[in-house]
Symmetry: C2
Subunit: 373 residues, 2 copies
């Protein structure tokens, strides 16, 4: 029997439909495959553009090709039913995040949906050379923005409140974020909620930060832009300290750096994801930085070691204690151990790596400096 696969979503919502079609579309549309045919179905608004922008090997249908004669504005349900009739498919394989509403409406019409057992496109986790070139380019833009951020902190002076001052004005989290994101945008990359968090704020891993950046406190910069042209992401984190850091913070930084270096030394095809996480965890513990909770506050290494990066910023494979699967050649993953303490803040250092047959390739320089004079 012919196998049918179906996605109904917008490109910003579903990386699967973007991967399948190569088509950036702000509104939901239909992708299906039936036997060897792959196709998208688009309304008059998008049809003409799709003909030149949808990726090779994917047929572009005008939705009116599946609509009842009297209906100039067919709904998705009507279209899927017509596609099912035309292709003879009565049971569509769909992604886990397929809309419940469509599934139930189709069921009423005798059309089944079956959720894919594994990822809908397992190949998404194994990057092609072309995809790697897109991510490498994105990471280059990311690293260059990181260098700019470091330069701004280096060039800043310090006022009597310990606030950083650059060109006569306070260098705040907001200002540094804006400068980073504007520079990225100028280069064709979109970034929002870039993390430029100082002091205690940085103890919350996704706190973007606000207020003046201060000397004598940690500053985490986590930069993760997406290419407007390709849809692929970069991701990199460094932790800075304006001035001389106290020994606890220095030791924490060194421990995180060592955790990153020792865990990434394990990276190659066939290694268990959980084992790589475990290595980072152990280095941190051995260095005297255990993970736990006190008075309802969590401290230590409170997140996974890394995640796949591609058309989504967080995708497969996860490098976490729960992932007992192995890493594969062509995976692109972040390696980002961190330590967080509600009392003074966090340290996180993040690189991006391609898994190779017997080793890995970094997409950025592994160097990291804490103290900025």
């Amino acid at each position: 029997m012919k196998k049918g696969r179906l996605i109904v979503s917008a490109s910003e919502i579903s990386a699967d439909i973007l991967y399948a079609s190569g088509f950036f579309c702000p509104d939901p549309f239909i992708f299906f495959s039936a036997g060897s045919e792959k196709a998208v179905v688009l309304s008059t608004l998008e049809y003409q553009r799709a003909l030149s922008q949808v990726k090779k090997g994917v047929k572009v249908y005008h939705d009116l090709a599946f609509a009842k004669k009297e209906n100039a504005h067919p709904g998705k349900l009507e279209l899927i039913i017509a596609i099912s009739e035309k292709t003879g498919i009565k049971d569509w394989e769909v992604p886990p995040d397929f809309s419940l509403k469509y599934a139930r409406d189709l069921e009423k019409k005798g059309i089944k949906t079956t959720i894919s057992e594994s990822a809908f496109f397992p190949a998404r986790a194994v990057k092609t050379k072309r995809e790697i070139s897109f991510i490498a380019k994105a990471q280059k833009a990311t690293e260059s923005a990181m260098k700019m951020a470091q330069r701004m902190i280096a060039e800043a002076s310090v006022d009597k409140n310990s606030s950083l001052i650059l060109n006569g004005e306070i260098l705040s989290s907001e200002r540094l974020r804006s400068e980073i994101e504007t520079e990225l945008k100028r280069n064709g990359y979109s970034a929002s909620r870039t993390i430029t968090a100082c002091g205690r704020q940085s103890s919350e891993p996704h706190n973007a930060g606000n207020g003046p950046l201060k000397a004598g406190q940690v500053i985490i910069a986590d930069i993760f832009p997406r290419s407007d042209a390709t849809g692929y992401w970069g991701d990199m984190t460094r932790t800075f300290f304006k001035g001389k850091a106290p020994s606890t913070i220095k030791r924490a930084f060194d421990a995180v750096f060592e955790a990153k270096e020792k865990s990434r030394a394990m990276l190659k095809a066939g290694v268990k994801a959980a084992a790589v996480y475990r290595k980072a965890f152990e280095v941190l513990e051995k260095r005297g930085f255990p993970t736990g909770s006190k008075n309802g506050l969590n401290y230590g290494f409170i997140h996974g070691l890394g995640h796949g990066v591609g058309l989504e910023i967080h995708e497969q494979p996860r490098v976490s204690p729960m992932n007992h699967g192995i890493l594969e050649e062509g995976n692109v993953i972040s390696v980002e151990p961190g330590l967080y303490y509600p009392e003074w803040g966090g340290i996180r250092i993040e690189d991006l790596a391609i898994i190779g047959e017997s080793s890995h390739v970094l997409l950025n320089s592994p160097a990291a400096e804490l103290e900025i004079p």
Copy 2:
């Protein structure tokens, strides 16, 4: 019986969960309401940040509060089951785009999901004063970027190939888009795929455009940025022509402008959305610009008149021939008639309006000039 409502999604994917929680989170999380309680459930990674960033009236739970004792990393399914037990809710109302996988897994555990009959949060279509102030601010940034674009075209000279030249370099679609988006980013707004399409490219309404902008051809600029701070969008379109436009294009522009003015004159609470669309359609027909298709190519007014704008760029209410509902006080909608001809391109003019009790308020100046000397 206590009513339960449930969303499981990331803020970038589901505007509903962003609306419910006010929390920007890159990964999927749980929002639920049970009777009068509203709550979000977050992992250690996000918990601390959520305590200060989630909107008032919504309780923040650490996921471990619902996890089995031995499980430090509970999955969403386990959490929802525990929440169902704790709240006594066995049938959750969910949005139409609720993940099919979660629904099926819950069903196996005897927990039902019922899709909301209308929009999950009908209030999203009826903006509060606070929301209107956010959209108004976004539209101000949009209009200012539009003025910059117009100025750049005005200041450009024309070379022997009719290409626009600004500061000694070709002014291309890509360059104009980059300048617009960089300026918006500098002001705290994210924009991608801004439309700066010239000539025939502009006959495809969502073609972003590429290559040199040319004198003697239409140039559509459609700018739709999102506030990084609030998540609300702006949306505005103008069509320009460097030099003297031929009479067909002038007539088409005047027809679209009249369609916009006459249809928006109808805007007030209680008017049928389809009737407003119909008015624009009729003005265009009466002015000699019918809609149809020839040799498989569509021409004329090939899309709806407008759409709601809020936490999504395209949301309820739609101002289209299929929407037989009425507009309500507090709706914020775009009014954007257009005409498209594969032979020479398109004209689109778009304003943003708030529906009032007996009229409407525009969030931008309604003025539009075609020709730029």
